[in-house]
């Protein structure tokens, strides 16, 4: 037992391994390293493990999406052959069970795609991976407030993923990711896979709650000395807003799915009209979580955006407080607009109310977009890959956001409800918003996370493929939607063939771009040049006060914050812990070191 003397001596006695070792350090043997990672309570390692798992799930969900696009390359149809035999044509999913069989498989695949992408990828994506890694670094903390809870959140995520994958292996679920009753309570009778999937989503909710809870307390209680609320990077504000929603909305999906499991197992009747319940009540329950969940998805994307724009324009962010408060405004408004998913099913008074409230969301969203654009103005813009993604986000998110206004208008919505217009809209927001920002963010913080630079040239090529591919995939879907192409069908009338084929071609381009990024990352890990502590010249603490990669305890000395996160005009070196270790931000020579 060590002598308890207080002060630094005690802190070092607690240390795991060497105090100034990189958090990625090898622990001597393979199994020792595996155990070190499996039992870690270090937020950085948990963030990296989340990143790997999320990217793997993104791969699975993406494969399902490609399968859907291939199926939709031609309309699935029943054709009579020369011999008078009826065969299914235009389908890769036909297993000799006729049209219904192919459609059933299609239903399972889009459900799989939706469930994986929503619950296993986008909701945890930015908060659990980049958020976990960066949030304590950005506010100058040694760790999140409850490190063990953080590890628990990661294992719960794993457990939920296993449940979800199990239900897929057992044959898949065809309820759609929304679990609408009565599909979810009566279809697939005699099988447990729907229940497994509901339980998977239920379990994943806990993971999300734990992450959010941790972040809120961390932001409130663990900011470094001198860091007031308005000295925090905007990334923290965005993650904080999302965390508020995670804590306040996710329990409702918990009780909803629990009641749904009861409904399916015992038919307690709350959602069953036969017993006096109401299926629309389920939709209220579901969207009370799932609409705020949309903002759990987009707020962290916006959080990344503020950092990308400021760092790569080398300019103080325009309207810091407006951007910060708009995050909170979005979090608040997210709770009172859920009814706009139900314009066709709910009563007319509620529809009118929800439609009016929905337009409120446009205000804080637009505040953010305008402020980012104003930040770009007269900045010294550096078109590195992360900045390209930021500009791509501005384009795609604006389209996604503005089409959201069409859908929020009651009359237009009745026409566009459940068409490809909706599909295109939310892909522009989630894929074009969150995932685009996420990829940009991974590029930006890659050197910090792994201590290696990536190849700028090929990453830029990857961006072009992703951006063009994305728009070619989803823009035609807007057009099809206005013309009446319904979502969730394996087949369609021949007039839509060209648009669908365009969309399919785009999706493969998108996939190619994403794989290219994967190879760039793998190449970087294997053969990338060593990253300097601050390759982009950022001013937030993770750039100015930590090494690439950070040491186990993040900072050698507790940082004292003396300047704002975006004070590019008047930075004094006084805030730097050790000027020799961390020379002040100095942008790399244009495109040199990374090639």
């Amino acid at each position: 037992m060590s002598t308890i003397t207080g002060g630094h001596a005690g802190a070092e006695a607690h240390g795991h391994g060497h105090h100034d070792e990189s958090y990625l350090a090898w622990k001597g043997s393979f199994w020792a390293t595996v155990w070190d990672w499996a039992s870690t309570i270090d937020h950085k390692k948990i963030g990296v493990m989340y990143l790997v798992a999320i990217l793997f799930m993104f791969f699975l969900g993406g494969m399902a999406a490609l399968a859907l696009r291939v199926e939709l390359f031609q309309p699935t149809a029943l054709t009579t052959t020369m011999g008078g035999e009826q065969v299914v044509t235009g389908s890769i999913l036909d297993r000799g069970e006729g049209l219904a069989g192919a459609s059933q498989t299609f239903n399972r695949i889009f459900t799989l795609h939706g469930l994986i992408m929503v619950f296993l990828v986008i909701i945890p994506s930015v908060p659990a991976s980049l958020g976990n890694f960066l949030l304590p670094l950005m506010i100058g903390a040694k760790d999140v407030a409850f490190p063990r809870l953080n590890l628990a959140s990661w294992y719960i995520y794993l457990f939920g993923s296993v449940l979800a994958v199990l239900s897929i292996l057992m044959g898949g679920v065809d309820t759609g990711w929304t679990f609408y009753t009565p599909y979810s309570t009566v279809t697939d009778e005699g099988h447990w896979r729907v229940i497994w999937m509901m339980l998977a989503a239920f379990v994943l909710g806990f993971s999300s709650i734990f992450t959010g809870l941790n972040f809120i307390v961390t932001v409130h209680k663990l900011r470094a000395p001198g860091m007031g609320w308005f000295d925090m990077p905007l990334f923290v504000w965005g993650i904080y807003g999302a965390a508020l929603i995670q804590v306040l909305a996710t329990p409702v999906i918990g009780i909803t799915l629990l009641l749904l499991v009861f409904e399916r197992l015992f038919h307690i009747g709350i959602f069953d009209p036969r017993l006096g319940g109401d299926p629309v009540l389920f939709q209220h329950f579901f969207w009370f979580y799932s609409h705020p969940a949309v903002y759990i998805m987009i707020l962290p994307g916006m959080a990344i955006m503020s950092e990308l724009i400021a760092v790569f324009s080398r300019k103080k962010i325009f309207g810091y407080r407006a951007v910060a408060f708009s995050s909170l405004a979005i979090a608040g408004i997210s709770f009172i607009v859920w009814g706009h998913h139900m314009f066709t099913s709910q009563g007319e008074i509620a529809s009118v109310l929800f439609s009016a409230l929905t337009f409120l969301v446009a205000i804080p969203s637009a505040v953010k977009v305008f402020n980012w654009i104003a930040t770009l103005y007269k900045g010294s813009i550096d078109l590195k890959t992360p900045m390209l993604y930021a500009l791509g986000f501005l384009f795609t998110f604006s389209i996604g956001g503005l089409t959201g206004l069409f859908l929020g208008a009651l009359a237009t919505n009745l026409h566009l409800h459940d068409t490809y217009f909706i599909v295109a809209h939310f892909h522009y927001v989630m894929m074009g918003g969150t995932i685009i920002a996420f990829i940009g963010g991974i590029h930006m913080w890659w050197p910090k996370m792994f201590g290696k630079m990536y190849n700028e040239f090929w990453a830029r090529i990857g961006f072009v493929l992703v951006f063009v591919g994305f728009n070619v995939t989803f823009f035609p879907q807007f057009v099809m939607g206005t013309q009446g192409m319904s979502r969730r069908y394996a087949t369609y009338v021949e007039e839509f063939t060209f648009m669908h084929q365009l969309s399919t071609v785009g999706s493969f381009m998108l996939a190619l771009g994403l794989f290219l990024h994967l190879f760039v990352f793998i190449h970087s890990l294997v053969a990338g040049p060593k990253a300097p502590p601050n390759p982009w010249g950022g001013l937030t603490l993770e750039w100015t006060h930590t090494k690439s990669t950070p040491i186990l305890h993040n900072f050698e000395h507790e940082p004292v914050v003396t300047h704002g996160p975006y004070d590019y005009d008047d930075v004094e070196p006084a805030g730097v812990a050790d000027p020799d270790d961390f020379p002040m931000p100095e942008p790399l020579p244009e495109g040199e070191r990374s090639h």
Partner: protein
């Protein structure tokens, strides 16, 4: 118990100067001088007594209301019962939260968490009720409540009897009990107190051509 500097392992602050400059006022660094309030035993007992009295009151009111309604043969609207019961429950909750959970003496931040939670619940309850309670106010089509229908789940009782599976579950249960000889039908007892339908105005109009076969919903 405000930040006891005399405790044996004082100096945990790691040599960091906890001056006001580094920890500006208003920032939450948790070593605030609000300290921990020790609630006196008298207060705790007092709160318990108040809670028990309020519990008695809410039960007494429910009984009293039924008794008055029967005595004077009047109909007391259903909402009276609900409003009184829930008001008393809210007061009890306030006592538990303020004294047992010590929100009154605690960091205001925790009160804010609690209040925002209640606001969220209010939105959840309010908007859902607005939808399901106000259908058909403008558009009569929407007044048509969802038909009791056929999810086609067979009940246990239905398997034992020949009752069609789309009959109400209660009816199937009754028929099954009759078939087993465990039940003799009798007149249902009159409901004392407020009548069921008073709190539930019929909303909207029925479209011409629709028969009102669903209890007026």
């Amino acid at each position: 118990m405000a930040h006891n500097h005399d405790n044996p392992n004082g100096g945990e602050n790691g040599g960091v100067d906890l001056s006001e400059e580094i920890y500006p006022p208003g920032a939450e660094y948790g070593h605030g001088h609000h300290g921990h309030t020790v609630v006196s035993p008298g207060t705790l007992i007092g709160v318990l007594v108040v809670l028990l009295l309020l519990t008695g009151l809410t039960v007494a009111f429910a009984e009293l209301e039924a008794w008055i309604a029967g005595l004077f043969e009047i109909t007391i609207p259903q909402w009276v019962n609900a409003v009184v019961a829930l008001s008393i429950a809210s007061v009890k909750t306030a006592f538990v939260v303020l004294y047992f959970m010590q929100l009154r003496y605690d960091n205001p931040l925790n009160s804010m968490i609690f209040i925002f939670t209640l606001i969220t619940v209010a939105f959840f309850l309010g908007f859902t009720m607005i939808d399901l309670g106000m259908r058909g106010t403008i558009d009569p089509v929407k007044a048509r409540y969802i038909q009791p229908g056929g999810t086609g789940i067979e009940t246990r009782a239905a398997k034992q009897t020949g009752v069609p599976t789309n009959a109400p579950v209660t009816e199937i249960a009754r028929q099954a009990a009759l078939a087993r000889g465990e039940y003799t039908p009798k007149e249902p007892e009159p409901v004392i107190g407020s009548t069921p339908n008073l709190s539930r105005p019929r909303t909207g109009l029925t479209l011409p051509g629709f028969t009102d076969d669903n209890g007026g919903r």
